[in-house]
């Protein structure tokens, strides 16, 4: 956990007081809605279909239990008793009143949480691997660098009015859980031959109307230069990114139009001017940030405790353990993913009661730490294996032990037409129906790893392009129509899915997914061949045939 110091606390409080003044000026009419819009967006406030939506930052997905309780408090006091965890490790509240927002922000500031730059055309919340610091084989904890970048990008005097939003993600593992290739800047932490820390820098990834997988702009940028290198990218983007068309304003379009070679030359030129400046980071600065991250005092525990051996006789426990529990870098401990995808529920939602109860469980079983992943699930990062059976029972009582992590019902979905003013189609009801269709755990388990991602419009908040099965809702002649893609993925082998054919109606989506799954089960060479691999081996044709043969 990173602990704010007085300096961080002061800044957040100053921001809250500024926003209080802005809200006051809006309510008195001193600011027009047009002027206020940009200011509220800089503080995570959107105007949605029914009310203001408030998005709170959870930097690199790490939460302390007192912070989780503060989120529960906001859900209870200012909203309707629940919150929605997002694909960028943030949380959204959907029913906030404008006049109460400064108070909500002030309550959150007390525990070191803010909503700065969770929307608007600025540098958004820095995201990272939700298993950072605990994943076996990780090079080093990427959150140290995430925090450095969080600070550097917060209220940046040059880059707070960019052509469009700008997202940075960091991973330090071979297996990319942070989806860095679909970010404006993706950073892969690596070591050079001298053993020094640095980054492979990728640029220009993003989904939306024109999806691109990020390209490598530089194979190694030394850690001490990472801020100046990011600054160089942003300076080129701020000056040359398109501002004439919102759909062409992301950095991916600039990179695409210039070509990665020309773009990287521009960045290199700029970087040479600023790399030997006060942006250079010395080891002491990194050590200072590292010193404010606390790590648990792990016990020396057996690899296979008796409690776990005994619980293995319970098939329900085993079903949960097999997909929710992952290896930890310390023997005797596990990382536990908590599914926020119950059968029939909206993906990513948690009630205030669940948040509070989870905070209690994290205090008891996970050294007071909780993580949020981009798949819209939570995780307890340091659970002693002997505690797994007790934890499972407690989670089950809370409705948080759905054994579907990484299975077909572990669906990513945007809020869609039920909440969002940009949406063309509903997302959540599609997800809910799919969780009911595949509620049978044996069937889901037989299918194996399969990610379905759903977006309710072309802006792609539900990451449909990179779902193994992607579902995009559009509007056609006043009707919701859904386009289905297969073969996308968001990990280190990131790829965009391929459209299988004409769009289908709302009522047909679940049937089509069932057809695709049945085709896969019939086509796979052996049970271990995952859906992704079958699609890769055979292409979309056999799936297309199956889906459209009878339609």
């Amino acid at each position: 956990m990173y602990a704010y110091d007085e300096i961080d606390r002061t800044l957040v409080n100053e921001r809250v007081s500024e926003f209080r003044d802005q809200v006051k000026r809006r309510l008195s009419g001193e600011l027009t809605e047009d002027e206020f819009k940009i200011l509220r967006l800089q503080n995570g406030v959107y105007l949605q279909l029914h009310a203001y939506m408030f998005r709170v930052a959870i930097p690199y997905g790490t939460l302390a239990t007192n912070q989780m309780r503060a989120l529960a408090h906001v859900a209870r006091k200012y909203d309707r008793g629940y919150g929605h965890f997002t694909t960028r490790q943030n949380i959204q509240f959907n029913w906030i009143k404008l006049a109460e927002l400064p108070d909500a922000l002030e309550d959150l500031a007390k525990v070191g949480i803010h909503a700065m730059q969770t929307s608007g055309n600025n540098m958004r919340n820095v995201t990272s691997d939700q298993w950072a610091g605990v994943a076996p084989g990780e090079i080093e904890d990427p959150r140290i660098w995430s925090e450095l970048i969080r600070q550097h990008t917060t209220l940046h005097p040059e880059f707070s009015f960019l052509p469009r939003k700008f997202k940075i993600a960091i991973t330090a593992s071979d297996h990319d859980r942070a989806a860095i290739k679909i970010h404006d800047i993706g950073l892969r932490l690596i070591k050079n031959e001298k053993g020094e820390t640095g980054f492979e820098v990728l640029v220009g990834g993003g989904l939306g109307r024109t999806p691109f997988i990020a390209k490598t702009i530089k194979h190694f940028v030394h850690g001490r230069d990472i801020l100046s290198y990011i600054e160089a990218i942003l300076r080129v983007y701020n000056q040359y990114g398109r501002r004439d068309n919102i759909y062409k304003a992301r950095i991916k379009i600039l990179v695409h139009e210039l070509g990665i070679e020309k773009f990287s030359r521009e960045v290199e030129d700029e970087w040479q001017h600023i790399r030997n400046s006060s942006l250079q980071i010395d080891d002491e600065v990194i050590e200072d940030i590292r010193s404010r991250f606390t790590y648990p005092a792990y016990e020396k525990l057996p690899h296979m405790p008796d409690e776990l051996r005994q619980a293995a006789a319970d098939p329900d426990f085993e079903a949960w353990r097999k997909n929710s529990v992952a290896p930890h870098k310390v023997q005797g401990y596990s990382i536990v993913t908590i599914s926020l995808k119950p059968t029939g529920g909206p993906p990513g939602d948690a009630t205030a009661e669940q948040m509070d109860a989870l905070a209690d469980l994290a205090d008891k079983y996970s050294f007071g730490e909780i993580r949020v992943g981009h798949e819209q699930n939570l995780a307890l990062p340091h659970v002693a294996k002997r505690d797994l059976p007790a934890l499972w029972k407690a989670l089950d009582k809370l409705g948080l032990a759905t054994p579907n992590v990484n299975l077909i019902t572990d669906i990513i979905a945007c809020p869609g037409l039920d909440y969002c003013s940009l949406a063309n189609a509903r997302s959540i009801p599609i997800a809910q129906e799919l969780t009911r269709r595949f509620a049978n755990h044996e069937l889901a388990n037989l299918i194996g790893r399969l990610h379905i991602n759903i977006s309710g419009c072309i802006n792609a908040c539900g990451h449909h392009h990179v779902g193994h099965i992607g579902i995009l809702g559009v509007e056609k002649n006043g009707e919701e129509v859904y386009q289905i893609t297969i073969g996308g993925r968001a990990d280190e082998n990131a790829a965009l899915g391929t459209l299988i054919g004409p769009g289908v109606k709302f009522d047909e989506v679940a049937d089509v997914v069932e057809d695709i799954v049945e085709a896969y089960l019939a086509l796979r060479e052996r049970p271990e061949e995952l859906f992704m691999d079958t699609v890769k081996r055979l292409g979309v044709e056999p799936f297309k045939e199956r889906v459209y043969a009878t339609r």
Binding site: T10, L11, I38, Q151, L155, P157, E158, L279, I281, E284
Partner: protein, 171 residues
């Protein structure tokens, strides 16, 4: 539109010239970029200060040969969501060492003052009178800054280093 300079509302000594208005014999003038580049020699010879209005989509490096001779540069915020002039301002101050007046024009509200000050602006054509009057208190709104810029304000990272070292002295 009130002008804030040095933190106070002041009279603007500059007259803005259009592309085709005749150049007055004396007095301070602000000239559009294109016209300035075309008539620089003549303009710089006359009595009175000369400043340039520079659009936010033109390379600021073109101004470099004149930086020692001009008294003011007015950068433009056509809307306040268009932040290109922040980069131009920092380049002028931090790369090209421009020391004359650097003026923010266009959609300038109190909510940008801190960013603008940090980027190197020292004069502001403020859209609303109330914002101009609130300049001093708004400029002091923040005491913590995470990024180093040419304004020399100490960053959070460096303040922490100082704290560490001063704590270290006693131990």
């Amino acid at each position: 539109m009130p002008l804030v300079n040095g933190g106070n509302i002041v009279d603007d000594s500059f007259v803005k010239l259009a592309v085709d208005t005749p150049v007055p014999a004396g007095g301070d003038i602000l000239v559009p970029a294109e016209r300035f580049l075309g008539e620089a020699d003549g303009l710089l010879k006359r009595a009175g200060k000369v400043g340039v209005i520079w659009p936010n989509n033109r390379d600021i490096a073109e101004l470099v040969p004149y930086l020692g001779k001009i008294a003011a540069i007015a950068l433009v915020f056509p809307t306040f969501r268009d932040g290109r002039a922040y980069s131009q301002a920092r380049l002028l101050r931090e790369r090209y060492n421009y020391r004359g007046e650097l003026r923010a024009t266009g959609q300038v509200l109190r909510d940008q003052f801190v960013f603008m000050l940090r980027a190197g602006f020292d004069a502001f054509e403020v859209k609303k009178q109330a914002d101009a009057e609130a300049f001093m208190q708004t400029a002091k709104r923040y005491s913590v800054f995470y990024q180093p810029t040419g304004d020399g304000r100490i960053t959070a990272l460096h303040r922490r280093m100082q704290l560490r070292h001063s704590e270290g002295v006693g131990t």
